[in-house]
Subunit: 188 residues, 2 copies
């Protein structure tokens, strides 16, 4: 089980950033994103993406993260530019994470409470420079799983993108044939 | 020379997303981000990051991208979920890009003009699922350069993060000694 926990979410201000956190988690094969602040719109927005493009990914908001992290058996990895640079990790370090039955990757918004550094098993930096949490999450999930993460089929969706050298090709499995992506009305 | 071109930037609506594109480009070792729409605030915001944390990275806005792409000798890689999945690329494909003297990686905002697919040398998908352009850029730049991208020292900054297992440690090279990151006033 691979989960992402997003804390410090402010529905109005962080709408797009948290949506991008969720899109990234989904595209890189996470099972679920947990968000601290309740946000039904975000849940619905992401449910729509999975409805269109498949997969069992889900978003749960309004999650009380302190009791969650205190009570979990999962390996908790907090991504922060202040942590240990993952570019210096040797293979065994990654192997431990790869074989863990349950990993929760935590990403904050602007600033996170100090106790998170204590609650996490690992404070990991995707480079020690000011960063985007979306970028850090993307690279971390990629390195955790390898290229496989980007090749996974997501079943049950109505639409399927067919890779092209030029232009766009989307198959509509819902019986409407092929449509251009421009018609999808995606505003991500 | 490694550049990122951001098109479709709307200064009010995309403020944070484009800032995250720039932070990602900088943290992953790009030399420069070019942005189509003029946005002095964005230039200043990112100049401040480099002033604090070092490096020669810069942001130039108000760039006319069509003449730029038409006239350039650079290899132009457009990141789009409709393109060829980079997870299927073999080594030689990457090698060609790694040895190219000048690469421009293009990321759009919501929707990009169709002609971009023609102007690009490569339309590359970081997975064929709806994605975040920040995440796609991060993984692409990482794979292009390898872990080295995250270990690069950025010279000349006032502040330097010292990787920690727990908590935050920032050295202030400007003579003020050590300060906690909370005092940095970073709102990214």
């Amino acid at each position: 089980m691979l989960e992402v926990l997003r804390i410090g979410h402010r529905p109005d201000r962080d709408k797009r950033m948290t949506t991008h956190v969720c899109l990234t988690a989904r595209a890189l094969g996470a099972d679920r994103v947990l968000v601290d602040t309740a946000d039904r719109e975000l849940e619905k927005r992401m449910a729509k993406v999975s409805e269109s493009f498949g997969g069992a990914f889900e978003v749960q908001t309004g999650v009380r993260w302190r009791p969650l992290l205190k009570g979990t058996d999962a390996t908790v990895v907090h991504l922060t530019m202040y942590g240990e640079n993952i570019a210096t990790w040797e293979g065994p370090r990654w192997e431990t994470l790869r074989t863990a039955p349950h990993v929760i990757v935590v990403v904050g918004s602007t600033k996170v409470p100090g106790e998170l550094y204590e609650l996490a098993d690992v404070n990991a930096a995707v480079g020690n420079q000011p960063h985007s949490e979306v970028a850090a999450l993307a690279i971390f999930l990629y390195l955790l799983q390898g290229g496989e993460a980007l090749r996974r089929e997501m079943a049950g969706g109505r639409l399927q993108i067919v890779p092209q050298e030029r232009g766009k090709r989307v198959l509509d499995m819902g019986g409407l044939g092929e449509e251009t992506a421009d018609g999808l009305g995606l505003e991500l």
